[in-house]
């Protein structure tokens, strides 16, 4: 080939033979550590699935759907519905509160201020869940700070029950999962360039209209992601309902724990766990299905 002299001087060292490893194999190699890690998790989940169709005392050999049938009893069914309802309501409230915070964060100009804001929002993830729950106890308990203050001001004559009921648990759920809502929303809103807001303004939109008709719909994928994260996180919440709800707010994770720790009923606990995972996955799939088209349109444009 006449042109080879242009690119390779005569007598140069021969090119190293191409690595025999193919690019796709290299990619898999790169993924191995995380795949191993995930593999253990998946194996554990499959073990749970196996145990859920076993019987008490013969988790590995027996086969029975009794544990699932048991979940249809009103007591368990109520717990499942309560769990889903609290997770859903907490997700809605968290997103509602997180949207203005996320918008504010996405529009902060000063990097320092943005970092301070981010640290403040991330606090709940940095502080132990147990400590946060005890914090709520100190504030909301019957002899807690809030009740003391209200009593002192003469606004109430008996302590208000804010704990050991669904209100208390809901407050705890919203607060502990708040960062999970803020982060995707702020990041989605940062993706909505300033020029879209300015364009809407020049077309005649007031600030509120700009927010409602341009910023919100354009960051909807992030808002849905936030809601889904909070929902999934809270559906399996354990510490918060245990400490702030006592035994009066039996969310499913608490029940799972009770089945195992005092009762040693592995099949029942496993079945409850499987149902929790499946319902959560189903709801997340549904939300992806509903918002997927819009997400793809928005992503194609950015």
């Amino acid at each position: 080939m006449a042109h080879s002299t242009l690119t390779r001087p005569v007598g140069a060292a021969p090119l190293r033979p191409a690595k025999t490893i193919s690019p796709s194999a290299r990619a898999w190699l790169f993924l191995t550590p995380s795949m191993l890690f995930l593999g253990v998790l998946i194996a554990a989940s499959l073990l749970v699935l196996r145990m859920s169709v076993g019987t008490k005392g013969a988790e590995w050999s027996g086969f029975s759907l009794a544990s699932y049938a048991q979940l249809l009893e009103p007591y368990y069914l109520k717990s499942l519905l309560l769990t889903l309802r609290l997770a859903l309501v907490s997700a809605l409230i968290a997103v509602l509160l997180a949207t203005p915070v996320g918008y504010c964060m996405s529009r902060l100009q000063s990097p320092l201020l943005r970092r301070v804001f981010l640290a403040a929002v991330l606090m709940p993830l940095l502080v132990n869940l147990l400590l946060q729950s005890y914090g709520w106890l100190v504030i909301l308990g019957p002899g807690g700070m809030l009740n003391q203050a209200l009593l002192g001001l003469g606004l109430i004559d008996r302590p208000v029950m804010l704990l050991y009921n669904q209100t208390g648990v809901l407050m705890g759920l919203v607060q502990t999962a708040f960062p999970l809502a803020v982060l995707p929303i702020a990041s989605a809103m940062r993706g909505v360039a300033r020029s879209y807001e300015e364009a809407a303004a020049t077309l005649g939109a007031s600030r509120l209209q700009v927010f409602r008709q341009v910023v919100l719909p354009m960051s909807l994928p992030g808002i849905i992601t936030g809601a889904t994260l909070v929902f999934a996180y809270n559906a399996s919440s354990f510490v918060v309902p245990l400490l702030l709800g006592g035994r009066r707010v039996p969310m499913l994770a608490v029940m799972v724990h009770d089945q195992i720790a005092p009762l040693m009923n592995w099949p029942a606990a496993s079945a409850a766990g499987v149902v929790l995972i499946v319902t959560t996955l189903a709801i997340m799939t549904f939300s992806e299905f509903v918002t997927g088209r819009r997400r793809r349109i928005l992503e194609a444009s950015q």
Partner: protein, 351 residues
């Protein structure tokens, strides 16, 4: 006074000045072009007119009414952004109807106006497409249609063509100009591309170093630049130092003298700058120097097919002459040549 009036308008961020001391009158129905290098404050000026930037100084009046502090959404100006900023979550039709929806126009009237505008931009069949599915030129037209949908008093274009490739840009320039003339809408176009300004504008406002350098028709600005900045920025030109000798004669650094139009305000002995456009220089085979015909040596020839650019070293200055291939006399580097600089083609600029 009707039209848009800017009086002593200025904007500074802390001690940094973006633009200062702008006094302009934009007559109705004209296309005015803000032309200048990047960072000259032209976009800031446009954004102040749009209401996206607050005024630091001065006043903006529209038909006698002070609008300098009216919020953007109450000004009823249409604006096309450099990024176009078409809403990706809306279809083409919804984008165009958006300003109408904000004004509470009925659904039927919205639809009628959208159809009318889509016909105007020849995209009737695209009404239900998402904007992501459009080509660059189509998006451009949709952005303009959206900006004029609510019949704004002023159309503001912020470098709207910079994202298009050269060929499409040229055809869009003509298209926008024709549309503007047909609708007779007062338009401000911001650009750094002087060819674009020359193609489209009725009036060009040259901005540089944070202030207005010159206001005039494109040809005035090209032929009669007010100062060295404008002369240098608009078109290519030979600008070189010279000394005034009195009675319309100037001396070149190399000693030769030229006859130029008499400029009353300049004293003999003052150092000045001369501007000669490359297309005004005439090259000929060497001959005795007489009047404005000087001897020189060819130092570079750039033959691009359609035009021939010849660079000549002549009496201490380097001149570039532009000629068509049929005027060309077949010069190559090192050839002696005679350059004729017509007196009428020389512009004296105060240095």
């Amino acid at each position: 006074m009707s039209g848009l009036v800017l009086e002593n308008v200025g904007k500074h961020y802390g001690s940094a000045c973006a633009v200062t001391d702008v006094n302009l009158h934009l007559p109705e129905g004209k296309l005015v072009c803000f032309l200048g290098p990047s960072g000259c404050g032209k976009t800031t000026l446009l954004r102040m007119i749009a209401g996206l930037e607050t005024l630091s100084d001065g006043e903006i009046r529209l038909d006698g009414q002070d609008i300098g502090h009216t919020p953007a959404h109450q000004r009823n100006f249409g604006m096309v952004f450099q990024s176009l900023a078409l809403f990706p979550h809306m279809t083409v039709g919804e984008n165009i109807a958006y300003p109408l929806r904000l004004r509470g126009v009925s659904k039927v009237d919205q639809q009628a106006r959208v159809t009318e505008l889509l016909q105007l931009i020849q995209l009737q069949e695209m009404v239900d497409r998402p904007v992501a599915k459009l080509s660059g030129g189509q998006r451009q037209r949709v952005a303009i249609a959206r900006a004029i949908a609510a019949r704004p008093k002023l159309l503001l274009l912020d470098e709207p063509l910079s994202a298009l490739d050269a060929k499409l840009r040229e055809s869009m320039q003509i298209e926008i100009r024709q549309l503007q003339q047909r609708l007779n809408i007062t338009t401000i176009l911001v650009t750094h591309d002087q060819r674009e300004a020359m193609t489209m504008a009725d009036i060009v406002v040259v901005l540089g170093e944070h202030r207005v350098q010159q206001v005039g028709t494109p040809i005035e600005i090209y032929r009669n630049p007010a100062n060295a900045f404008v002369a240098d920025f608009i078109g290519s030109g030979n600008i070189f130092p010279a000394t005034a000798l009195g009675s319309g004669r100037v001396g070149l650094p190399g000693g030769a003298a030229l006859q130029v139009p008499i400029c009353e305000s300049i004293q003999a002995g003052a150092s000045i700058k001369l501007l000669v456009r490359p297309e005004d220089l005439q090259l000929s085979l060497p001959q005795a120097s007489a009047g404005n015909c000087l001897p020189g040596t060819v130092t570079f020839v750039r033959d691009s097919g359609a035009t021939v650019e010849t660079t000549i070293e002549c009496s201490g200055v380097s001149l570039t002459a532009l000629s068509t291939p049929c005027q060309s006399i077949g010069l190559s580097i090192g050839n002696p040549v005679s350059v004729t600089i017509p007196a009428a083609a020389c512009r004296v600029l105060t240095a």
